[in-house]
């Protein structure tokens, strides 16, 4: 039976009617039309559905809707502020770090999480953290370059 859930997404409060076994990805895409977060595998293996929950990367396809009370969710749509891109978004543009760009939302959200929680990560740390995100087009080296660039640009953490 559908239950009503209160969610805080991109600084706004939402009330969502959903079955308890529905995951956050489906709620974002179907109930709220926040389609910037992508489905890629449904088993937490590809990272396309990555969002921030209280500032840390989570796979929304594996996140039950029942676990989100009182938490702050940030999706790709909530990253830019008043038309100003987040440094990670800007760095992805500057480095041309995309081809089809279907993975880009998840890549950016993972990168933001990394930089939220680790100042100036080393290349090895970047690779380790991003290992769970798949880009089938193979833009990995540019994504690493973009994360380095955004890391150098610095920014208050997004939570």
């Amino acid at each position: 039976m559908p239950t009503t859930y209160a969610l805080r997404i991109n600084g706004q409060s939402f009330s969502v009617d959903a079955d308890p076994d529905v995951n956050l990805l489906t709620v974002l895409r179907e109930n709220l039309d926040l389609t910037g977060t992508k489905y890629g595998c449904g088993e937490g293996q590809c990272g396309a559905c990555t969002v921030l929950i209280d500032g840390r990367a989570h796979r929304s396809c594996m996140t039950p809707i029942t676990t989100l009370a009182g938490k702050s969710i940030i999706t790709i749509e909530g990253l830019a502020k008043d038309d100003h891109l987040h440094p990670v978004q800007q760095a992805f543009l500057d480095e041309g770090a995309m081809q089809c760009a279907y993975c880009t939302s998840g890549m950016i959200m993972s990168a933001v999480s990394l930089l939220n929680n680790r100042e100036n990560p080393s290349d090895a740390e970047i690779l380790q953290f991003m290992q769970g995100n798949i880009c089938r087009c193979g833009t990995y080296p540019r994504i690493v370059a973009a994360i380095r660039k955004a890391s150098a640009a610095g920014k208050e953490p997004v939570r």
Partner: protein
């Protein structure tokens, strides 16, 4: 002005790629078009007779009410000077929205922001066979340059008429027509204002040579890039309509299974469910995905399937299940190989096994379908919008003018999205539900019910003389395909044959087709011959190679890579190269080996590439690196495992694809031949990495690697790679 002329109807050359002809109908008449476009100048460019007749003389009846049927491209200049270009090509990440915009901006002499590309909407773009075969740059780029040059001339003619002067005196620059003599100028917007003109122009205007390019040839960033980093862009799987339902297809128990019976009683009791049982098609639609999944799970189908081969016995199966070859390219013979082999003391034989692999585009197939009376509109991710239109027309017994397919920029394809499965499924459900329906495949569905890169068995035999000249070359490819099968080395006696096989799995196009398998076998075998001669593999290639552009990528790539520099202990160099889809490519790899553990690591790679005059060097580098990384997957670990009509590894947790830590430093040497036509770059750069890697490993281990993927063979010898 004229909208019909006497150009003869025909087919454009790329149509040969498909077996069945697709009919060619424009449903919009000109008035509809102007409603859509508004006032302005509408420039239509017709194919030249030579290209129209290149492949087929089959003529089509021109319809009185329709536009001419030989149209390559069209373009509209609106009253504000905005330029809208219409093409059947589609964007799947290869970045042609940008590179084609550059071509138009260059010839129109406007900033790139003035150009808007309308792509892959079957109702308003000229017919196009599809986006494959690396044809966008050599064919569509050129056609759009022609239509743009024609539009530029139309604007010059307008200005000349207004100013009562000779058009030959006028030039175009920065979105204006200028009369240098009188210093008069008019913007395109000023010239177009109040006009409603259709120009049908022959596509023969002189084009701006590459050495004079100002916008083409530059590293222009991805058009609409901001929409992708903000999540604003809507991919096909993101599309929605009011009152839309979510569809779920109940899949058969195995490939080729037939539906014997189904108990629908439980699902039918669920509120808001639409159920379709039509032959073997069993599916539901519901207001949410969760409800659709519940209803689908409540169905109790009984399937009947035949026993089928498994991946364990694949290569024996391929050899035993040949079918007669069709078409002209299955056998190539030069000289007399048997005689040449008879007179040699050293015949070298190798057999190669190539596994099935999956495209695994990160966006699985998705479609949204909406019926309006007996017209259907479908938004879907496909490399062949017109092909999917044909599939829908056939499936629903409709004339093609009642079907519209739109292709939003899609989450990749790599040759894997030529078909319209999700479009048909969504349309069938939408017809039953009398509401729009979206079908978005799961990863398991994409891994199972799409199609695969063909597996292959390849047998190579060669003979070489004491001077290092190859005298005989015999090459048999079973199933994987004929693309790239011919050798570009100069060999007097050749027999090269493709043997089609009744494939146990559904198979189709994959980035570069069988050229990957054929280059792998050919280039690995080349190193084995060089080893028997104790010759340097690069020197051996050059000794047997005359083509100057191919020599150039080997020589210049080798120089940049440092091929002739001393190699450290336990380091191996390898090279693999070739010519494919009009591009010349050589890839170099360095590997290291830890003898105590057997660990092999790729230290670096370099690809030298010549695709004529470079349209966008940044996009080209992105393609080169991406192709090498994708190629690493098929080279090292990707393989589809199947058993009795089912895919065993149909999820990313069981099917490994390249990830961040799999990627070595990859460099690109771009050879910009401004004197040569621009050609594609999405496919050829994938070919070199597998043989270069195998050859580099061979250089230190002396183990000939004859399988794609190579990791299992390496493990059996006590080595690990990746």
């Amino acid at each position: 002005m004229t909208r019909r002329n006497n150009l003869t109807a025909g087919l454009e050359p790329e149509r040969y790629e498909l077996h069945e002809p697709v009919s060619f109908i424009f449903e919009s008449d000109r008035r509809d078009f102007f409603k859509f476009l508004g006032a302005g100048i509408f420039v239509v460019c017709a194919a030249s007779k030579t290209t129209a007749f290149q492949e087929s003389g089959r003529a089509r009846r021109a319809s009185e009410d329709n536009l001419p049927q030989e149209i390559d491209a069209w373009l509209h200049i609106g009253e504000k000077g905005e330029i809208t270009v219409f093409t059947g090509k589609v964007e799947v990440g290869q970045n042609i929205r940008t590179s084609l915009s550059q071509a138009v901006a260059e010839e129109m002499r406007v900033p790139i922001v003035s150009v808007r590309m309308v792509m892959g909407d079957t109702q308003i773009v000229p017919f196009d066979m599809g986006t494959f075969g690396s044809r966008t740059t050599p064919v569509m780029n050129l056609q759009l340059r022609r239509v743009s040059a024609a539009a530029r001339d139309a604007l010059i003619a307008l200005a000349a008429k207004q100013w009562n002067t000779d058009p030959a005196h006028l030039t175009a620059a920065d979105g204006k027509i200028i009369d240098p003599k009188s210093n008069r100028s008019a913007t395109y917007a000023e010239l177009v204002k109040g006009q409603q003109i259709t120009q049908l122009l022959p596509a023969e205007d002189p084009l701006i040579p590459a050495v004079q390019w100002k916008i083409a040839g530059q590293a222009v960033p991805k058009v609409d890039g901001r929409d992708f980093v903000t999540g604003k862009h809507r991919y096909p799987s993101d599309y929605k309509l009011p009152d839309m339902l979510y569809g779920k297809v109940v899949r058969p128990s195995a490939f080729g299974a037939t539906l014997v019976s189904v108990d629908t009683s439980a699902a039918e009791k669920m509120p808001g469910i639409t159920l379709v049982h039509d032959g073997n098609f069993l599916a539901v639609a519901a207001p949410t995905t969760a409800l659709a999944e519940k209803a689908a799970a409540a169905l109790k189908p009984e399937w009947k399937a035949e026993p089928q081969p498994s991946s364990k016995e694949l290569f024996e199966y391929l050899k035993k299940n040949q079918i007669p070859a069709e078409g002209r390219d299955s056998l190539h013979e030069t000289g007399d190989v048997q005689k040449a082999f008879a007179s040699t003391a050293h015949r070298l034989n190798s057999t190669f096994n190539i596994a099935y692999i999956a495209h695994a585009p990160l966006e699985p197939r998705a479609a949204l379908a909406q019926w309006n009376g007996d017209h259907v509109t479908v938004w879907t991710g496909t490399q062949r919008p017109f092909g999917v239109r044909g599939e829908l027309a056939t499936a629903f017994h409709l004339p093609e003018e009642k079907v519209r397919v739109l292709m939003p920029d899609t989450g990749s394809g790599y040759g894997g999205k030529h078909t319209g499965e999700a479009a048909l499924e969504a349309a069938r459900l939408a017809r039953a539900a009398k509401r729009p329906v979206k079908v978005a495949w799961t990863r398991e569905e994409e891994f199972t019910w799409a199609y695969f890169r063909p597996a292959g068995l390849i047998e190579v035999s060669s003979a070489v003389d004491a001077d290092g000249k190859i005298t005989a070359w015999e090459f048999h490819n079973y199933n994987s395909g004929a693309a790239g099968i011919r050798t570009y080395y100069d060999i007097p006696n050749q027999r090269i044959e493709f043997h089609p096989v009744n494939s146990p799995l559904r198979q189709g196009s994959y980035r570069a087709l069988a050229a990957t398998a054929n280059h792998f076998a050919r280039e690995v075998h080349m190193d084995e011959i060089a080893a028997t001669l104790k010759m340097d593999p690069l020197e051996f290639r050059l000794k047997n190679l005359q083509d100057q552009r191919l020599r150039a990528v080997f020589e210049q790539g080798g120089k940049q890579f440092g091929w002739n520099k001393p190699r450290a202990a336990n380091r191996g160099f390898g090279v693999g190269g070739g010519f494919e889809k009009l591009g010349y490519m050589a890839t170099f790899v360095e590997v290291s080996l830890k003898p105590e553990t057997g660990e092999i690591k790729i230290e670096r790679a370099l690809t030298a590439f010549d695709c004529g005059a470079i349209v966008n060097p940044d996009g080209l580098r992105n393609q080169l690196t991406g192709a090498n990384i994708m190629g690493l997957g098929g080279a090292i670990f990707e393989a589809i495992e199947f058993e009795n009509g089912r895919i065993v590894n149909n999820v990313f947790s069981k099917y490994r694809v390249p990830r961040f830590r799999d990627v070595p430093p990859i460099d690109a040497l771009l050879i910009d031949r401004k004197d040569q036509p621009s050609v594609g770059a999405g496919e050829a750069p994938i070919l070199g990495i597998a043989p270069a890697l195998a050859n580099a490993i061979f250089a230190i281990t002396r183990i000939p690697l004859h399988s794609l993927p190579m990791a299992p063979q390496l493990v059996s010898h006590g080595y690990q790679l990746g």
